[in-house]
Point group: C3
Chain length 153, copies 3
């Protein structure tokens, strides 16, 4: 099964990727490394899921938001690559959680993205990562995740 | 116009770059990638602009500080490269804003750096990025930005 | 002296590296770049040193925790490389400090890791870095540090 077939078998649809109206871009190449801008849990209506872990958002909700963020990362990669099977490895994630000072379960939140990447990409989806707590995030969204992908020549 | 001529045409002067007195350095090479250490809004007198978005600093002030930080990043790149025209691409920025928990306009702040890079470097200045909120920053400064540049062989 | 001999001469022992039970991994390769997942001040008993700078943890304690984190990073590198002398350069650290909003001495904390890397690796240990304050960290630990190493062919 190709990654696109796996997405379909899970009933997942890659969201639209609107380029930001600004001097930054959704992705940039450096040799065969593809750097993806930080993405968030963007819903079909274009809004982001707001919330703060340890205040008004559960770990389960955060996990779902990280999974949705992973889907947005894959959508940007698809736009860059044409075929997701060109991904040799997800090299690195920086998983950023909007959380209260005493929150401590960041890994369980960011697993939502990590698990999706391995479901869709198999071994190529396994990655180095950090999962940490931010003081605040744009749109007051629950998570933001940036990524580096290694692409086959 | 070279990047240096564009800087001059805008009346911008690259600040002095004093190497940190420590076991870290302002930049490090990995092949043709130039990794720049996180920089802040350092003024001519060597002090940093302090403040926290959502408390005592406006988005306009934060934008100006991010622009000043971009100038400091270019100064380090100039020291590393000799000529800024050797920059093939600004690959990635991590834009870190010192902000209150409910602040949500991080992108508008970090645009100060993104806009400067494109003004000076043109298309080469466009980059992937994340713009996020930190719990605190060194010197209580308003922003810190780290960068990866791709350099021509 | 090899890095391993330097560690021994300082009475330092590399800790065990238990792989995380999850879809992320302790390190990932991209060409000759080795990306290390964020690590913390893990003690011999497997627990992490908790605390928050500016509240219940001194800069000296944070420095010691960053040093311990550096030892954990070297342990992962050793598992990946066999011999630490294969490290051509520590390219980049992202040093993340669990700190109160008005804390400002992040560099003095992360120096604990930077100093260790130069003690053990010499010039190869000098790196670009950012040292910044997080809103929260997993396990409420005091510091988390991620790293990129350049490895000899
Ligand atoms: Ca990187």
């Amino acid at each position: 099964m190709t990654p696109e077939e796996k997405l379909a078998s899970l009933g997942l649809v890659l969201p639209d990727t609107a380029a930001p109206v600004a001097n930054y871009v959704p992705y940039r190449w450096a040799g065969n490394l593809l750097y993806l801008s930080g993405m968030g849990p963007k819903r079909a209506d274009g809004t982001y899921r707001p919330g703060r872990l340890g205040r008004d958002t559960t770990v389960q909700e955060g996990y779902a938001d990280a999974r949705l963020t992973g889907l947005n990362l894959l959508a940007v990669a698809k736009a860059a690559l044409g075929e997701l099977s060109r991904i040799e490895a997800v090299v690195k994630l920086l998983g950023m959680v909007n959380a209260e000072p005493d929150f401590s379960d960041h890994p369980k939140v960011i697993n939502g993205c990590s698990d999706l990447l391995v479901e869709i990409l198999g071994e190529a989806g396994r990655h180095a990562r950090s999962a940490v707590g931010m003081g605040s995030l744009p749109n007051r969204m629950t998570v933001e995740i940036e990524a580096i992908f290694l692409i086959r020549n």
